[in-house]
């Protein structure tokens, strides 16, 4: 069924009892042309682009839990492409441009809100670094603006501009095309569109082992039985390293817990995404009115999907330093997602050491904003066996050649 205001009106007349399922719950077949491991936004997007761009529709997406129940449902929903290196800009701006027309393309409202993302500068040195980054981004064609203190005050009237502020605000920079999107809707939109192509989305299906013959992946063992395919994609975020070990190789990844939290809902007070490198916090206000904010990593390996209190305290303290008015708010929820962080904070895309298995890994703390790109380039690798020009610099081989794309140092941004 095509979603439209007319279909909404018609369904309303019958009390919204007639909406069909958005996607089927098919049984796992023994053989497919292509199998994607991981039913988050990235894996579902890969399945969709396999069908749409490459005409490969005999595809399964295997998800251990439920759709978008991992990091897709645990991020802070921020989208942006204000990266430092041209390779990263090509990748992340591809994703943002896809996001800009995705609601139309998928006939599913992903609630993209390009309210801008504003990084606050607190010292002269930070302002100099921001000027350098803004210049690099402008050269790479990204729409960023350097702001002085007055301009930041105009955008963030609740921020702490008092004379005795621990973190004085000297300026900042903004990317106005950045903003937020509904994270669940991105996964659901891709799932519905992939299902419409006949793709099998199989939930509660855990991959338990890999059948590798002569260095070539031929099949998987799963909790729902064996499955074979001509090509495979690995897109399991925090668990990519665990699955790679089962396939017989290691990856340059460490899995950490990344926290986020929301306050109780309040009236509109913040109409952009505010980010402060110095205090390690970023905050936006959801459509429901909750302040959504996050956090740095708990800096030791974890698969526990919960973060510890000392990191949460640090984030809250940072936010209250910048926005003292939020001091009285109650915290509603706090959680963590498991993110696979590579050494240069750039993703690992393309072929793996095992033939027929392609990687969409290492998105680390910033995967949501890249969902369309992760899916698009994984689909390209699975369908053609080769890199797309945009994904080539992110090949696994960079860890032995030394051709890193060091966004951790380049942009100075955690996500």
């Amino acid at each position: 069924m095509r979603y439209s205001s007319l279909s909404l009106f018609r369904q309303g007349l019958s009390g919204h009892q007639g909406w069909p399922q958005a996607w089927r719950s098919p049984a796992l077949k023994p053989t497919y042309d292509a199998v994607v491991i991981g039913g988050g936004g990235h894996g579902l997007a890969a399945a969709y682009y396999l069908a749409k761009v490459h005409g490969i529709k005999n595809v399964a997406v295997l998800e251990r839990g439920w759709l978008g129940g991992g990091n897709t449902g645990r991020n802070t929903t921020i989208v942006r492409s204000n990266y430092f290196f041209p390779q990263s800009v090509a990748l992340f701006d591809f994703a943002l441009r896809q996001y800009e027309q995705l609601s139309e393309e998928l006939n599913y409202n992903i609630m993209l809100s390009q309210r801008g993302i504003l990084n606050i500068g607190h010292t002269e040195h930070q302002m100099e670094l921001m000027a350098r980054n803004v210049n690099a981004m402008l050269v790479n064609g990204i729409d960023v603006e350097l702001l002085d203190a007055q301009q930041v005050r105009h955008e963030l009237p609740l921020a702490n501009f008092s004379a005795d502020a621990r973190y004085p605000i000297l300026g900042g920079f903004t990317q106005r095309r950045g903003g937020v999107a509904r994270h669940d809707a991105v996964a659901w939109g891709y799932a519905r569109a992939a299902d419409a192509f006949g793709i099998d989305i199989v939930q509660n299906c855990e991959v338990t082992d890999f059948r590798v013959e002569g260095g070539r992946l031929v099949g998987l063992e799963t909790s729902l039985g064996p499955v074979s395919a001509g090509t495979f994609g690995l897109s399991a975020s925090g668990h990519n390293g665990v699955l790679a070990r089962k396939a017989g190789f290691r990856l340059p990844l460490t899995s950490y817990a990344l926290q986020a939290m929301v306050s109780e809902p309040i009236k509109p007070v913040l109409d952009t995404v505010a980010m402060s490198w110095a205090t390690g916090m970023y905050v936006s206000q959801s459509d429901k009115g909750e302040l959504v904010f996050g956090a740095g990593l708990d800096l030791y390996p974890s698969y526990a999907q919960r973060g510890n209190l000392n990191v949460a305290q640090g984030v809250v303290a940072g936010m209250l330093e910048i926005f003292p008015a939020f001091r009285g708010l109650k915290m509603l929820r706090q959680w963590a997602g498991i993110v696979d962080v590579p050494w240069d904070y750039s993703p690992i895309l393309g072929p793996s050491p095992v033939q027929n298995l392609h990687l969409n890994a290492g998105w680390g703390t910033g995967g949501f904003k890249a969902t369309p790109a992760g899916g698009y380039f994984l689909a390209h690798a699975m369908a053609t066996g080769e890199h797309h020009p945009i994904s080539r610099p992110f090949d696994l081989s960079r860890f032995s050649t030394g051709a890193f794309i060091d966004e951790a140092a380049g942009a100075g941004i955690s996500h």
């Binding site: 390293g241 665990v242 290691r250 990844l253 800096l299 030791y300 698969y303 526990a304 209190l309 032995s400």
Partner: protein, 87 residues
Amino acid sequence: MLSIPCPWCGPRDEPEFLFGGEPAVRPVPAADVTDAAWADYLYFRDNDKGPHAEIWCHAAGCGQWFVMRRDTATHAILSVRKPGEPA
């Protein structure tokens, strides 16, 4: 918050400690080490889910390094030992 039993100081709170990576043996002699082997030593990790061998530093305490086995799925601490002590 983790309560980590430093082998020198006894149990202390997590913020006093730094995670220092997985124990690894540096390949030598350097002239004979291939790029792939060097990359494997520097960057590639077991990243286990479950029991995991780690080195930690009691950075804001005694400053000593030690070896800890920890379950990364539950955060349970399984054992700690001083470097050089038998596992």
